[in-house]
C-alpha cells in the first residue's frame, strides 16, 4: 500500500493540532502506525519535532502516547531521548497520569541519568509517594527506578526495598492468583540480595490449601530461604503438613524443602523425615531417600544418622530416582550400613526385571564401591552382576560401564580403589558458605520484566547440581584420577601449612586445668563481631575446619565467651573467644581470641619454632587465621534476619 501513505500523513498531522484531546491521542499513535507501515523510509524530522513538542500537552494520555510513538519512530536511533527538561517535566506530571501511564513513564525514566546527587535526591523524593502506590505495577516500577537511580547509594536502595516490602507482600496475598505469582517471583528476586527483608513475615508464605500448586512451589522455595533459629520449628511443622498432600509433586517438593533446611538444622529435620518413612507411601519414601542422599553429600555431620535410618527402613523405593538414591547411599556408606550387601543382592537378583539403565549403572558403581570396603560379602554378587551386564545386557552404556569396572578390577584392587573412591561429602563447603548475598545490580535489570516469571526452579537446580557432583555418576570423572586428586585435597589443607585434627575429645575438667596452667601465647582481635547463630550450627561449622568446641555462653549474654580446642600433630591448642560488653570496651563488637598451647611440641616443630623469628611467624597466629577462616565462612553463611548485621 505504498500509495496510500501519502493520503494518511496530512490528516494525521492535522490531528496532532486538533482541539479535542481524544483526536490528538489517536493522531499521536497514528504517527507510529504510519511509520510502521513504511519502515524503511527516512524519519520525518518535522513530525518528530512536533511529537517532542506535544510532550507538553495538557492531556496526560497524549503525553504518554508521544513517548510511545517517539520510541517506535526513533527505534533505530536508540529510542526517545529523555533529557533533563523532559525528565523533570514528566516527573512533575506524574500525579496527573493514570496508573498505566505512570508505570510506563517510570520505565521511560530509567533512561535518564541525573547529573548530580542533589538532582538525584530531588527526583527520589518526588517519586517517594509512588513506592507505596495501591497499584502493584506502579509500586514495582517505582522500585525498579529507585534501584536503578540509586545504584551508587546502597543505603537508599535498601531503604527503598524496605518500604516496598509492604506492597510486595500485599501482592503476594492478592485476590488474583496470577498477581500473587508475579509478586512471589519478585520477592524471590529481592531476597537474592536482602535475604532478611521478609524474615519476620515468613507466615505470609504459608500455603493456602486452595492455592494452585505453582504458587505453593514458589512459597516453599521462599520459606526455605527464610528459615532462622526462631522460626525453624514453625516452618518445619508447616512443611511437614504439606508432605501428605494429594499431589505427589507437591509432597516431594515439600520433602526436598525439609531436606534443604536439614543442611542447617539436621536433627529436627531428620526426625520429621524418618517419621515420614512410616507412612509407607512410594512417592514419599522415594523423595525421602533422595533427600537423604543429598543430605549425606552436603552435610557430613548427618551421615551417621542417615545410615542408621536407612538401615532401619524395611521397604525400598519403587521408582528409579529413589532406587538410584538408595543404591548410592549403600555404595558410598556401605561400611556403616550393616545390611547393605543383602539389600544390594536383592537388586542384583532382580536385575532382569529392571527397566531403567540409570539404576543399573548406579547398581554397578555401588557394588564396586561396596566390594572395596566389604570384599568378603560382595565378591560373589559382584561377579554375577558383571557377568550379567557384560554378557546379557542389551544397553550399551551399562555394558560399557561393566566392562570398565571389569578391566579396572583386573588391574588390582588398590588401583580400583584409587579411581573409584572419592570424597564422601561435598568438599566445596557450599553448605557452610551458603548462597552469597548478591549485589542488587545482579538482578535489578530484570526486575519487573517477564524474566523472573518465566520459570526457573531453585530447588530443582540444586538437586541437579548434587547429581552432577556425585563422582559415581559420571564415568569420565572416574577415568581421570588426576582431576580427582585436586578435589580430594580438601580446602583445609591447601592453604595452611599446619594440619589440624579433631583427636580425642577433652573433658571440661582437663581443659580448665590446662587453661589455668598455661600462658597466653597469642592474642588477636578479629575484625568482626561474634556470629549470632545457634551454638549447633557454629559447632558444626568449626568441626568442619577441625576445631572442637567445649563450651559457649548461651544466647545474647554479654560478655560472650566460647572455649574451643584443636590438635596439631602433637600439640594441643586451646583458645578462648571473648566478646566484651560493648559499653565497657572501646572496640565496638569485635571478637578477641586468646590462644594457649599445651607445650608438647614435637621435636621437628620445636626446631621450626627456633629457626623462625617468633614475632614474625608464630604458629598460633597462623592457626588463628585458620580459625578466622572458619568463622568467616560461618559469618558469610546466611541464616536469617539475625545474621544481617554481620554482612
Amino acid at each position: 500500500m505504498p500509495g496510500m501513505t501519502e493520503y494518511i500523513e496530512q490528516p494525521i498531522v492535522a490531528g496532532l493540532r486538533d482541539k479535542a484531546s481524544y483526536v490528538r491521542r489517536v493522531a499521536v499513535l497514528g504517527c507510529a502506525k504510519m511509520h510502521s507501515l513504511q519502515p524503511n523510509t527516512e524519519i520525518d524530522g518535522s513530525i518528530v519535532n512536533e511529537l517532542y513538542a506535544l510532550l507538553r500537552d495538557p492531556d496526560p494520555v497524549v503525553v504518554v502516547n508521544c513517548l510511545r510513538a517517539l520510541e517506535e519512530i526513533l527505534k533505530d536511533e536508540g529510542g526517545v531521548v529523555i533529557n533533563k527538561p523532559i525528565a523533570h517535566h514528566l516527573l512533575n506530571r506524574m500525579k496527573d497520569l493514570d496508573s498505566w501511564a505512570q508505570s510506563e513513564v517510570l520505565t521511560f525514566l530509567l533512561r535518564y541519568r541525573p547529573r548530580s546527587d542533589d538532582e538525584l535526591f530531588d527526583i527520589l523524593s518526588l517519586l517517594d509517594t509512588f513506592l507505596q502506590s495501591a497499584h502493584a505495577h506502579v509500586a514495582v516500577a517505582t522500585l525498579r527506578l529507585f534501584l536503578h537511580l540509586a545504584s551508587a547509594h546502597p543505603a537508599v536502595q535498601a531503604d527503598a526495598l524496605l518500604r516496598t516490602s509492604a506492597p510486595l507482600l500485599a501482592t503476594c496475598g492478592a485476590g488474583s492468583r496470577e498477581l500473587r505469582f508475579a509478586g512471589l517471583c519478585h520477592v524471590q528476586q529481592v531476597m537474592r540480595s536482602q535475604p532478611g527483608l521478609f524474615g519476620t513475615h515468613y507466615k505470609r508464605f504459608f500455603c493456602g490449601y486452595s492455592e494452585p500448586s505453582y504458587i505453593k512451589f514458589r512459597k516453599m522455595e521462599i520459606l526455605v530461604e527464610l528459615v532462622n533459629d526462631e522460626n525453624v520449628a514453625l516452618v518445619l511443622e508447616e512443611l511437614r503438613s504439606y508432605c501428605t498432600d494429594v499431589s505427589p509433586e507437591l509432597a516431594q517438593a515439600a520433602i526436598a524443602a525439609i531436606g534443604h533446611i536439614a543442611r542447617t538444622y539436621s536433627e529436627k529435620c531428620l526426625d520429621i523425615l524418618t517419621g515420614l518413612l512410616a507412612l509407607k507411601q512410594d512417592h514419599i519414601m522415594s523423595a525421602v531417600i533422595q533427600t537423604f542422599r543429598d543430605l549425606a553429600w552436603f552435610c557430613p555431620q548427618s551421615i551417621a544418622a542417615v545410615c542408621q535410618t536407612v538401615e532401619a527402613c524395611v521397604d525400598s523405593p519403587q521408582d528409579s530416582e529413589g532406587k538410584q538414591a538408595l543404591l548410592w547411599l549403600l555404595g558410598e556408606h556401605g561400611e556403616q550400613i550393616s545390611s547393605a550387601p543383602y539389600v544390594m543382592e536383592g537388586y542384583i537378583d532382580g536385575l532382569k526385571t529392571e527397566l531403567s539403565s540409570a539404576v543399573k549403572m548406579e547398581l554397578l558403581t555401588a557394588t564396586v564401591k561396596m566390594f572395596l570396603c566389604r570384599p568378603a560379602e560382595t565378591q560373589d554378587m559382584l561377579g554375577r552382576l558383571l557377568h550379567y551386564c557384560i554378557e546379557e545386557e542389551s544397553d550399551m552404556c551399562v555394558r560399557d560401564r561393566a566392562l570398565l569396572y571389569y578391566r579396572l578390577l583386573q588391574r588390582g584392587v588398590e588401583e580400583t580403589r584409587k579411581v573409584v573412591t572419592g570424597p564422601k561429602s561435598d568438599p566445596s563447603m557450599s553448605v557452610l558458605t551458603g548462597r552469597q548475598e548478591e549485589p542488587i545490580s545482579q538482578w535489578s535489570s530484570t526486575f519487573n520484566t517477564l524474566g523472573p516469571l518465566s520459570g526457573h526452579n531453585v530447588c530443582l537446580q540444586t538437586v541437579c547440581i548434587s547429581a552432577v557432583d556425585q563422582p559415581s555418576d559420571s564415568a569420565e570423572k572416574e577415568l581421570l584420577p588426576g582431576s580427582k586428586e585436586v578435589t580430594l585435597s580438601s580446602p583445609n589443607d591447601t592453604e595452611e601449612e599446619i594440619s589440624l585434627s579433631l583427636g580425642p575429645s577433652l573433658s571440661h575438667e582437663a581443659f580448665e586445668k590446662m587453661w589455668l596452667d598455661l600462658e597466653t601465647l597469642h592474642r588477636q582481635t578479629l575484625g568482626f563481631p561474634r556470629p549470632k547463630t545457634s551454638p549447633d550450627t557454629l559447632q558444626a561449622a568449626l568441626q568442619l575446619v577441625k576445631i572442637q568446641t567445649l563450651a559457649f555462653t548461651p544466647g545474647d549474654t554479654v560478655p560472650w565467651k566460647a572455649y574451643i580446642y584443636t590438635r596439631s600433630t602433637e600439640t594441643l591448642i586451646l583458645a578462648e573467644l571473648l566478646q566484651e560488653d560493648p559499653q565497657s570496651s572501646s572496640s565496638d563488637e569485635t571478637l578477641v581470641v586468646s590462644v594457649k598451647q599445651q607445650p608438647v611440641l614435637g621435636d621437628i616443630q620445636k626446631k621450626v619454632w627456633d629457626e623462625m623469628p617468633s614475632e614474625k611467624n608464630p604458629p598460633p597466629s597462623s592457626w588463628s587465621s585458620r580459625f578466622d577462616q572458619g568463622l568467616r565462612l560461618h559469618a558469610e553463611r546466611r541464616i536469617g534476619v539475625t545474621d544481617l548485621d554481620l554482612g
Binding site: 510506563e104 500485599a170 496470577e178 486452595s210 511443622e237 508447616e238 509433586e249 507412612l279
Partner: protein
C-alpha cells in the same frame, strides 16, 4: 506493548480475538491453547513463551484472558490490565461467563477498541469509557425457578428488608436506558479474606486478614460521596489502642482518586465514584485477630477395628449468637486407599462424602449459627491400614463465608452523597468475610 488480546473458553473456543499490531499470526491462539493445556501441575503457567512471542494470561470466570507481546513488559502491568479487562467486562455485561462474553462480543470489542490503541493501554476508567461505549449489554440471565429461591448475593437469606437484593449487583451498569433505569443504586461492600492456621493444640499460629472496601456504583452521574469509617480506627502497629473497642489495621492503601483530607481526624473517605466497580481502600492485618477465630475444631482420630479409622470431629462456631456462617465445608484428608465411609451427622441438612480421588472426606454444613456446636462421626474403611496411616489424617481445611461480619471490626458509620441527588438513590452497605484459607492441624 501488547500484540494481541484474546479470550478463550475453557474448551479452547475463540471468543474474542483482537490483533493490535499485526506482528503475530492468528495461529498463536492455538499455540497458546496447546501450551496451556500441556502444562503439568507444577509448572508455572502465567507467562509462557513461544519463539519470540510471550503469552501472559489470567484465568477469570473460567475463561482464559490472554495478552501476547513481543517486548518484555512489566508483568504486573499486563496482569493487572487483564484483570481490569475482566472486571470491566463483568461491569458491562453483568456477569462473567462464557455465555455472557459470547452474547456481548460486540460490546467487548468496542471496549477493547477504546482501551487499547496500537498495543498501548489508553484508559480503563469507566468515566471516560462511558462516553464512547454505545452498545447495549445483552443480559444473559435466563428465567429460572432457581433464581426465585436464590439465596442472597453472599448466600444470605432473601429478606428484602434486611439484605440488598442479590440480583441488583449483578446487572450491567449501562442499562440505564432499559427498564431498570429508575434504580439509582450504590453498593459499598466491605470484603475481608481471612487466612488462618490453627495448631494441633488449638493455638492460633497464623492469622492474616486482607480486606477491601469496594464500591459498585450504578448512578449515571455521581457527585462526591463521603464514607465514614469507625472513628477509633488505628493504623499501624505502633499506635496504642485507645479503648478496647478500637479497630486496628496494620496498613492501608487507597485508590488514587480518594481524598484523604478528613481521614486523619474523622476517618472519612471522600471519593467521587465512577460507574462500575472500584476498590477504594485495601487494608491488611497480620497476626493479631481482634476476635476469636470463627471456628474451633476438637478432633479425635482412632484406629477402630482392623481396617477402620474413626474420625470424630466436634466443631464449634465462636461467632456472636446472632450471626451465622454459611456454606461451611470441611475437608479432612484420609489415608490413601480409603474405600468407603459411613457417617453419623447431627442434622439432615448436612452432607458428607468421601472423595477417594482427593484422598479426602468432605463435610458440608449449609448454615452454622454462632455459638453452636456440631459434631460428626466418620468411619472410614481402609484396607491394609497401619498405625502410621493415622498420620495422614489432617490437616483439616475449611471454607465458609460470614455475611454481615468483618473480622477486623471495620464498620462504615455513614454514607453520604452530597449534594443530595435529585432522584431517589438507594445506598447499600454490605459486609462479608470469606475464608481464604482456614487450616486446622490435627
Amino acid at each position: 506493548m501488547i500484540s494481541q488480546i484474546f479470550i478463550l473458553s475453557a474448551k479452547g473456543d475463540h471468543l474474542i480475538y483482537k490483533d493490535f499490531r499485526g506482528e503475530a499470526s492468528k495461529d498463536s491462539i492455538n499455540v497458546f491453547y496447546e501450551m496451556v493445556t500441556a502444562l503439568s501441575g507444577d509448572q508455572p503457567p502465567v507467562v509462557m513463551s513461544h519463539k519470540d512471542l510471550h503469552f501472559i494470561h489470567v484465568r477469570q470466570g473460567g475463561l482464559y484472558w490472554v495478552a501476547s507481546t513481543k517486548t518484555n513488559p512489566s508483568p504486573f502491568t499486563i496482569i493487572e490490565f487483564l484483570n481490569r479487562l475482566a472486571a470491566l467486562t463483568k461491569d458491562y455485561c453483568g456477569s462473567l461467563s462464557e455465555k455472557s462474553v459470547r452474547m456481548n462480543f460486540a460490546l467487548i470489542y468496542e471496549l477493547l477498541d477504546e482501551m487499547v490503541d496500537f498495543g498501548y493501554i489508553q484508559t480503563t476508567s469507566t468515566d471516560i469509557l462511558k462516553n464512547f461505549i454505545q452498545t447495549e449489554a445483552v443480559s444473559s440471565k435466563p428465567f429460572s425457578l432457581f433464581d426465585l429461591s436464590n439465596v442472597g448475593l453472599f448466600g444470605a437469606e432473601t429478606q428484602q428488608s434486611k439484605v440488598a437484593p442479590s440480583v441488583a449487583a449483578s446487572r450491567p451498569i449501562m442499562s440505564s436506558r432499559g427498564e431498570q433505569g429508575g434504580k439509582n443504586e450504590i453498593f459499598v461492600d466491605v470484603i475481608e479474606r481471612l487466612s488462618v492456621v490453627i495448631g494441633s493444640n488449638g493455638v492460633l499460629m497464623k492469622s492474616d486478614i486482607q480486606g477491601e472496601i469496594r464500591i459498585k456504583c450504578f448512578l449515571p452521574t455521581c457527585s462526591e460521596m463521603r464514607i465514614g469509617l469507625n472513628e477509633e480506627l488505628n493504623i499501624g502497629k505502633s499506635q496504642l489502642k485507645g479503648y478496647s473497642s478500637a479497630v486496628r489495621v496494620d496498613e492501608c492503601r487507597f485508590h488514587q482518586a480518594v481524598k484523604l483530607d478528613e481521614f486523619d481526624t474523622f476517618r472519612i473517605l471522600k471519593v467521587c465514584p465512577s460507574q462500575g466497580e472500584q476498590t477504594v481502600m485495601q487494608y491488611q492485618l497480620c497476626d493479631e485477630l481482634p476476635c476469636a477465630p470463627p471456628f474451633q475444631l476438637f478432633p479425635s482420630v482412632e484406629k477402630d477395628y482392623v481396617n477402620r479409622v474413626m474420625i470424630f470431629l466436634k466443631l464449634r462456631c465462636d461467632l456472636p449468637p446472632k450471626s451465622t456462617a454459611l456454606n461451611v465445608s470441611i475437608t479432612v484428608p484420609v489415608p490413601k486407599g480409603s474405600i468407603s465411609m459411613s457417617q453419623e451427622l447431627s442434622s439432615p441438612d448436612q452432607t458428607a462424602e468421601l472423595q477417594p480421588k482427593n484422598k479426602a472426606l468432605l463435610w458440608e454444613i449449609p448454615r452454622f449459627p454462632g455459638g453452636a456446636q456440631l459434631s460428626a462421626l466418620f468411619k472410614v474403611d481402609v484396607p491394609g491400614i497401619s498405625s502410621a496411616s493415622l498420620l495422614e489424617v489432617g490437616p483439616v481445611s475449611m471454607s465458609f463465608e460470614l455475611p454481615k461480619q468483618t473480622c477486623t471490626g471495620l464498620q462504615i458509620r455513614f454514607l453520604r452523597l452530597s449534594p443530595t441527588q435529585t432522584g431517589l438513590s438507594q445506598r447499600w452497605v454490605r459486609y462479608v468475610t470469606h475464608s481464604d484459607s482456614y487450616t486446622i492441624r490435627i
